[in-house]
Symmetry: C2
Subunit: 185 residues, 2 copies
């Protein structure tokens, strides 16, 4: 599988990879066990501190691991991992070691105990910033405390979920930079 | 400009259009005035009721209109409207009538006072479901109470923001339906 070379990335700029809305893999650790879940319900919430919100269903095995550890890593897979992402979303960490089952490599994080997924294009280490709406809405608000992003390609080919088993694959990029006011860039 | 034929759409299925993460146009009404803003920070939060979360910067002219009216319409533009979306994001409703300036048509909603944007592929009428985190995080949680979606094309070509004036245009769709457990579809 492709190995990305990664570098530390400015936290205030991670929106470049999250705002387009790709499917992400959420990795977690609790009591010596790792897990991974596939997630499409997330959004940026602030540049600095780098806040990121996501919805996690309380029936997911990851839910309690993430709620209790108050940490996770948001990993961005590219198209090469689409089958793994679907597989991860269709089995439970209660029964299998998903790193082993899907041939993924856990890498030790710098700031959190949850593992990074080596084979992903980007890894964002997160600490819980706000948990008030977890019980009622399944809403976790994270502060991204460390970002690791591949040095190339500039624009990763990501996949985005349309429901019903159908994914949209990210297409070409266009710059409309000249039409922006500088302060809006 | 292309005119879409639309039909009422099941609320529990609107994720098909929102989960991929497109730029949306948010229309609002307050004290006899309409406004539109361009938005990329949003996510699905529940199928039924159809909950949808978004971040709105409190410096946007739309912020107070939306906070006070407790309503908005989330409109999904297709690639034909990319210049309008950038223009809308780079001027203020404080100074201009954006419907007039960008040649867009306000349509009366069924359930809310905020106008639908006729030229968009889909329009989701929203009522505020939870406002507790507006002040601290700019987070609005909406219940979508009525959905209008174009009858074709099946997969609209949407645009997704990468920051720095660059957009990703949605690409091809692939079905991995056979790899899903039926209950996960």
């Amino acid at each position: 599988m492709k190995a990305f070379q990664k570098k530390d990335y400015p936290l205030a700029e991670i929106r470049r990879y999250l705002e387009p809305g790709p499917i992400v893999l959420v990795s977690s650790a609790w009591k010596g066990k790792f897990n991974i879940m596939t997630m499409g319900w997330h959004m940026m919430m602030e540049f600095s501190p780098a806040l990121f919100g996501c919805y996690i269903w309380d029936k997911n095995h990851s839910f309690e691991m993430i709620r209790k550890s108050k940490e996770c890593v948001i990993n961005i897979p590219t198209i090469e991992l689409i089958n793994e992402a679907v597989g991860i979303g269709n089995c439970s960490g209660d029964k299998v070691d998903k790193f082993k089952k899907f041939g993924l490599t856990p890498v030790v994080g710098d700031k959190v105990s949850a593992p990074l997924i080596k084979e992903c294009y980007a890894n964002f280490e997160c600490r819980l910033a706000e948990g008030k709406l977890i019980s009622k809405y399944g809403l976790f608000i994270w502060e991204v405390v460390k970002a690791h992003v591949a040095t190339s390609p500039k624009y990763p080919v990501t996949f985005h979920y349309r429901g019903e088993g159908v994914f949209m694959i990210s297409g070409r990029s266009v710059s409309l930079r000249k039409k922006f006011k500088p302060r809006n860039l």
